[in-house]
């Protein structure tokens, strides 16, 4: 059975992510073993990698880097072996070149772009962007991940990923202006929303990721 490394670097919602992945694995035809881990060797051997993330960009980046050999192991698996990767929320934002929350922090730079504060054009659009929003302009890569315009997803964030190349955006959402709800490039994907908190629409996405062959 395939193994999925769910990266444990102290992110607050690890339990929810694990719970949802286990549920999704139960529904995926091939199943999957979900390993919550910060061990570079386990990561290096995984068939898929999920990077969750809640909180500030800089704090998450620091926590990830603080675990010796972890970033290197993830990078080797994803960039070296082409292992399918899914980043969630700040785990998605970390794919960018840099984050501008509490100063400038370098990201993994796997998908060029930067993470900037949301500035909705309308004062009725509150920040944080919090709640269930729909997706649109879904790219072929987004469709391959099962993203669809009819299922709203749960968002909760104040910063958004601005991709340098619009072709890397797999789906948009609108909150007083459009921004990336999902990004995808090759075997690397990321979603700004929380599939683990998006009921059946989110669980379907996770089940689809477990079968994803980019």
């Amino acid at each position: 059975m395939q193994t999925v490394a769910l990266i444990d670097y102290g992110s607050g919602n690890l339990r929810s992510a694990q719970n949802a992945l286990v549920k999704a694995a139960g529904a995926a035809p091939g199943g999957a073993e979900i390993c919550v881990t910060s061990d570079p060797e386990t990561v290096a051997a995984a068939d898929r990698i999920v990077l969750p993330g809640v909180g500030a960009f800089a704090a998450c980046r620091e926590a990830l880097t603080a675990r010796s050999g972890l970033v290197e192991a993830i990078t080797q698996a994803v960039q070296g072996r082409g292992v399918p990767f899914l980043g969630v929320c700040v785990g998605m934002q970390l794919l960018a070149s840099r984050g501008l929350e509490f100063g400038e922090t370098p990201g993994l730079d796997w998908i060029p772009g930067e993470v900037r504060r949301l500035t909705p054009a309308s004062p009725t659009c509150k920040v944080p962007h919090m709640g269930w929003n729909s997706l649109d302009d879904i790219s072929p890569a987004g469709q391959a991940l099962g993203l669809a315009p009819d299922g709203a997803m749960y968002f909760t964030h104040s910063f958004a990923f601005h991709a340098a190349d619009p072709a890397d955006v797999a789906a948009f959402t609108d909150h007083g202006g459009r921004f990336a709800a999902a990004v995808a490039r090759g075997n690397v994907a990321g979603v700004q929303f929380h599939p683990e908190k998006s009921q059946s629409a989110g669980l379907s996405l996770l089940a689809r990721f477990l079968e994803w062959r980019p």
């Binding site: 607050g12 908190k197 998006s198």
Partner: protein, 274 residues
């Protein structure tokens, strides 16, 4: 477009869901884990879990209830009650909460809000405010038709002006305001629209309307007239007087954005063929 959120609230005491009227006379309304699971299936947009357990001994046990609740609910879970320090909040988040809601301790020490926001992000910090009609004795004093902030489950009058305090909470990093009208709590006569308007126009973060919902129409009114981003209710949902689906249907009928899930659509189809 962002949907309005419909949030059932579980007031939990010693591991059981209870609900009172104007914060008193509690009656039993069931097992929180079962209720969370039922609300998840009914398409609730979020769940609020308020631990009103009075004793310190009960606090550890509540972590287990929260963990079991989080396991059955694939929607955001906010937990409040008795959070006095960042470590209290951390324990709840690790048990499976997505957001923590601070109340009394934040009024007494607003820096608790910034400490939690720094540690977990503003999106994880809800500031719950219990408001009661009456002139404030501090802040923008002299406002004689305002609301005052109450703490300790509505027992202590702080004299603080609600608008001033809501602004301070957001300045300190609260990502959301849970605004409860004590005057309307359990009365089922509708939310305090004037209070809602006062707060939604004063702060830039989402505001959850709470206290007074008696019908789906009241929830529509909270959004259209009060500017609420989310509506919360307890007893009318627990006792089956109004369903989550009915509220969403009423919102859509009023031209408001609401997330219709399979649960309502299936029920609609069943009704159409019955």
């Amino acid at each position: 477009m962002l949907n309005l959120r419909v949030i059932p609230c579980l007031d939990v005491k010693d591991g059981r869901v209870v609900k009172g009227v104007q914060f008193l006379s509690l009656r039993d309304a069931g097992d929180p884990v079962e209720q969370a699971s039922a609300y998840d299936a009914a398409g609730a947009d979020e769940l609020m879990f308020l631990d009103i357990t009075a004793s310190h001994e009960g606090r550890g046990a509540i972590l287990d209830v929260i963990a079991r609740t989080a396991d059955v609910c694939f929607m955001p879970l906010s937990v409040g009650g008795g959070i006095r320090a960042v470590e209290d909040a951390r324990r709840l988040l690790l048990a499976g909460a997505d957001k923590i809601s601070v109340n009394t301790a934040a009024v007494e020490n607003p820096d608790l809000i910034s400490a939690c926001a720094d540690a977990f992000g503003s999106q994880a910090v809800v500031c719950a405010i219990d408001a009661k009609h009456g002139a404030a004795v501090s802040g923008q004093g002299g406002r004689n038709d305002g609301w005052r902030v109450f703490t300790y489950g509505g027992r202590k009058d702080t004299g603080l002006d609600v608008i001033d305090y809501a602004r301070l909470a957001v300045e300190k990093g609260a990502g959301e305001i849970l605004l409860t009208s004590m005057d309307r709590d359990g009365a089922k006569t509708g939310y305090d629209i004037a209070l809602l308007r006062a707060i939604t126009s004063a702060v830039s973060v989402p505001v959850i309307a709470s206290g007074g919902a008696g019908s789906a129409a009241h929830m529509v009114e909270a959004a259209t007239q009060g500017g609420a981003d989310a509506v919360l209710a307890a007893s009318i949902f627990h006792f089956g007087e109004v369903s989550i689906g009915e509220v969403k249907q009423a919102m859509v009928a009023a031209g408001l954005p609401a997330r219709l899930t399979g649960a309502e659509m299936r029920r609609d189809a069943a009704e159409a063929f019955s």
